[in-house]
């Protein structure tokens, strides 16, 4: 599963690199189109269990 979060690019919106949480009424699409923020896709899936690998040396 993935989710979208926004990161600030322009100092006119806030600290560049920090997370942008849009308040009500903010036109996020316009901010992305104008290059003020970028949309970042974030995976929200829990990591799958990795198979245990036996690293013991062979006899």
């Amino acid at each position: 599963m993935t989710d979208v979060e926004y990161r600030i690019v322009s100092h006119r919106v806030g600290e560049p690199g920090s997370l942008f949480v849009p308040k009500q009424g903010i036109n996020v699409e316009a901010l992305v189109a104008g290059g003020f923020i970028v949309a970042v896709t974030v995976s929200t899936a829990t990591p799958s269990k990795r198979r245990k690998v036996n690293t013991a040396p062979e006899e």
């Binding site: 690019v9 322009s10 100092h11 006119r12 919106v13 942008f20 849009p22 308040k23 009500q24 009424g25 903010i26 036109n27 699409e29 316009a30 901010l31 189109a33 104008g34 290059g35 003020f36």
Partner: protein, 137 residues
């Protein structure tokens, strides 16, 4: 004694973008349509409050560089957004309210307004939306 306040450093944000450094004038008008409820027997007009019809007008130096005026406004034409104007850059408070229109329409944008020997400015108007005066820091 009356107090006059000289506003040299108001803050103007359009769609969360701080355009203070490009703005030379700004006004936010809280307005309601007056509905005439005058009846026979009255000698003066009387009105009741109708729908809110608020408006924000800003005068901006128009530039085309990245992250500046045109880049902010070009993608907003024909859409609704949030406009905030407050008297100073200090935190919102009762003495420094953040006058806000949420969901105001930018119906038109003059994309060029050139005059010989002058800096280019545009007057843009945001119409409608929900008015609030934010006093919470």
């Amino acid at each position: 004694m009356a107090t006059n306040q000289y506003l040299s450093n108001p803050v103007v944000k359009i769609n969360a973008v701080d355009l203070t450094g490009f703005c030379t004038a700004a006004s936010v008008i809280q307005r309601f349509e007056p509905l005439d409820n005058t009846t026979f027997g009255q000698t003066d007009r009387s009105y009741v409050k109708g729908l809110g019809d608020h408006e924000a007008t800003v005068t901006l130096l128009l530039t085309y560089a990245a992250s500046e005026t045109y880049a902010t406004l070009a993608t907003l034409v024909g859409t609704t957004t949030t406009v905030v104007v407050k008297p100073t850059s200090a935190a919102d408070s009762a003495t420094n309210p953040g006058f806000t229109l949420t969901g105001a329409l930018l119906a038109e944008l003059p994309v060029i307004n050139a005059s010989l020997g002058e800096l280019q400015t545009v007057d843009i108007v945001f119409q409608g939306g929900v008015y609030s005066a934010d006093v919470t820091p």
